[in-house]
């Protein structure tokens, strides 16, 4: 926590969790998809479902899916902008049970080039967020750092190859997490780094034989 967390963020109201956090969840989901979103099925759970409309949560999520920042004055009119941008969307209320955070959203996204992604995330207060699941893989992604995310085959040496590329570009790893479905199948790795992830890292990781997909994420705090 620093001064700018207390005197800030600068945002479109009315709620840091239900509006600003929702923008950030949408934006991170778009970055994970890695291309413009053309269709979004969005499930809202708990307080997001109950009070979302009055907080502009729905518009904030769509604004985020279009890559906007939390202080973008167009947020109240995000729906109109989405239709111009060719983004169709549908909201529904979902019940994920008591163990889910009260401000949880589930995105099913389709990208411009037919990429599809299912992402679950929640807004945990004060505009801070957490992505908790991607395509069924449990993971934790807070957007506190710039990050490199890979979907790869679960084989010996993949992590070594990726971290080697980061090391060669003098990128320091702050935190990292790996999860897999089962031994030898596919795995997801999240590497939080200090500073930014250079372009070269992304292109070099992308051509590693076991890498199925790689994404570079910006920190969510604008």
């Amino acid at each position: 926590m620093n001064l700018f967390d207390v005197i800030g963020p600068i945002m479109i109201g009315p709620s840091s969790s239900h509006t600003a956090g929702a923008v950030r969840l949408g934006r991170l989901a778009r970055e994970l998809l890695g291309e413009p979103v053309v269709a979004a099925d969005i499930g809202l759970h708990g307080s997001f479902a109950r009070t979302g409309k009055g907080h502009g949560t729905d518009r904030a999520l769509i604004a985020g899916l279009m890559g906007w920042q939390t202080d973008d004055a167009r947020i109240p009119h995000a729906f109109e902008h989405a239709s111009h941008a060719g983004l169709t969307f549908h909201f529904e209320m979902v019940c994920l049970g008591d163990s889910a955070h009260p401000n949880t959203v589930v995105f099913a996204l389709k990208g411009q080039s037919e990429g599809v992604l299912r992402i679950t995330g929640c807004s945990v207060g004060g505009g801070r967020i957490k992505i908790t699941e991607i395509n069924g893989f449990p993971l934790e992604l807070t957007g506190d750092f710039a990050a490199l995310v890979t979907l790869h085959q679960d084989r010996p040496g993949v992590i070594h190859s990726v971290t080697g590329i980061l090391a060669a570009r003098a990128v320091n790893i702050a935190e990292m997490r790996v999860s897999r479905r089962k031994r030898g199948s596919t795995a997801v790795m999240v590497i939080d780094v200090d500073g930014a992830v250079p372009d070269e890292v992304v292109s070099e990781v992308a051509v590693l034989p076991q890498i199925l997909a790689v994404r570079r994420l910006n920190p969510v705090v604008e």
Binding site: G13, T51, H55, G56, G126, G127
Partner: protein, 299 residues
């Protein structure tokens, strides 16, 4: 999170013979790896957002949920012009209240605001700071230092208690905002570091125990009007501190008490929209009107 101490910072400022604002400018610039000029510029940009929020609110905007709107303008019209003398608060305090209402109405209407410390309490600092700045002819440089004082107080509260209504009730939001504003004003008007601490303590003590009970779960009722109340308490606390009145309980202990009170609050009274004003017949009726009987906001 590391527990900060406002008393320790105030003592350090005292020892260095700096005003608390100057002390905050030095220490926070170091902490954030910015020059003092860069930090001051950031604060000025924030002040500009706050000023625009007041202006947007004063256009009479209505909230997304439709429960609030236009009252900042209403109070401004009542307390200025030909019949200004009828305001019981007097021009400065009435202006602070009107601005606080307006800035928080801008928030409720999906306007651009600075969450300081939160969106729900985002009217208090703009209301107090800009009313005083206009009344006393204070420039943006001094105002940006005052904002740093407010930030320092908020950081201590965040580290020892909470700034979130969901965790600590409204005392953590409007109470913290009032403490931040009171300390900022005292520094702005030349008070000592000790007086900054007393002002923050006196403001927070007056809002201790305030619950967070938003009607329909929205940042509208009673949030907007509580911003005005917190602004007035901040001015009163600043006046008391500048008069030399001391808080018997030191600021850090008041903050710790706020944390304890927050923990003792029933969850119904911590932003869930289930208790307090939200659970009154009228509060429930408002919720039903907005979301429908079956509570299906997105259908």
């Amino acid at each position: 999170m590391e527990k900060l101490s406002l008393s320790a910072w105030l003592d350090e400022a005292n020892a260095s013979t700096l005003s608390f604002g100057r002390f905050c400018l030095q220490t926070q610039a170091l902490e954030l790896e910015l020059t003092e000029i860069e930090l001051s510029e950031r604060m000025k940009q924030t002040l500009s957002v706050m000023q625009q929020a007041i202006a947007y609110g004063l256009t009479g905007v209505r909230s997304t949920g439709g429960l609030v709107g236009g009252v900042g303008l209403q109070l401004q019209q009542y307390s200025t012009g030909d019949q200004a003398a009828r305001s019981l608060l007097g021009p400065l305090a009435a202006k602070a209240a009107a601005y606080a209402l307006a800035a928080n109405e801008a928030n409720a209407a999906m306007g651009k605001i600075c969450a300081a410390p939160t969106a729900g309490s985002s009217g208090v600092l703009p209301g107090v700071l800009f009313a005083i700045a206009e009344d006393r002819g204070i420039n943006q440089d001094d105002l940006s230092v005052a904002l740093l004082v407010a930030g320092a107080i908020g950081m201590v509260i965040a580290s020892r208690a909470s700034l979130s209504g969901a965790e600590g009730g409204c005392q953590a939001e409007c109470g913290s905002a009032a403490a931040m504003a009171a300390g900022a004003v005292v520094d702005l008007l030349g008070g000592s570091p000790d007086q900054v601490g007393h002002a923050a303590a006196l403001a927070l003590k007056n809002l201790l125990g305030l619950v967070c009970d938003p009607v329909a779960g929205l940042v509208e009722v009673p949030c907007v009007k509580r911003n005005a109340g917190a602004a007035i308490i901040a001015l009163l606390a600043a006046d008391m501190a500048l008069a030399g009145i001391k808080s018997v309980i030191p600021i850090d202990e008041v903050i710790d008490a706020m944390a304890t009170v927050g923990r003792a609050m029933n969850a119904d009274l911590r932003e869930t929209g289930l208790g307090g004003l939200a659970a009154t017949p009228t509060g429930l009726e408002c919720a039903e009107r907005i979301f429908g009987a079956k509570n299906h906001p997105l259908e």
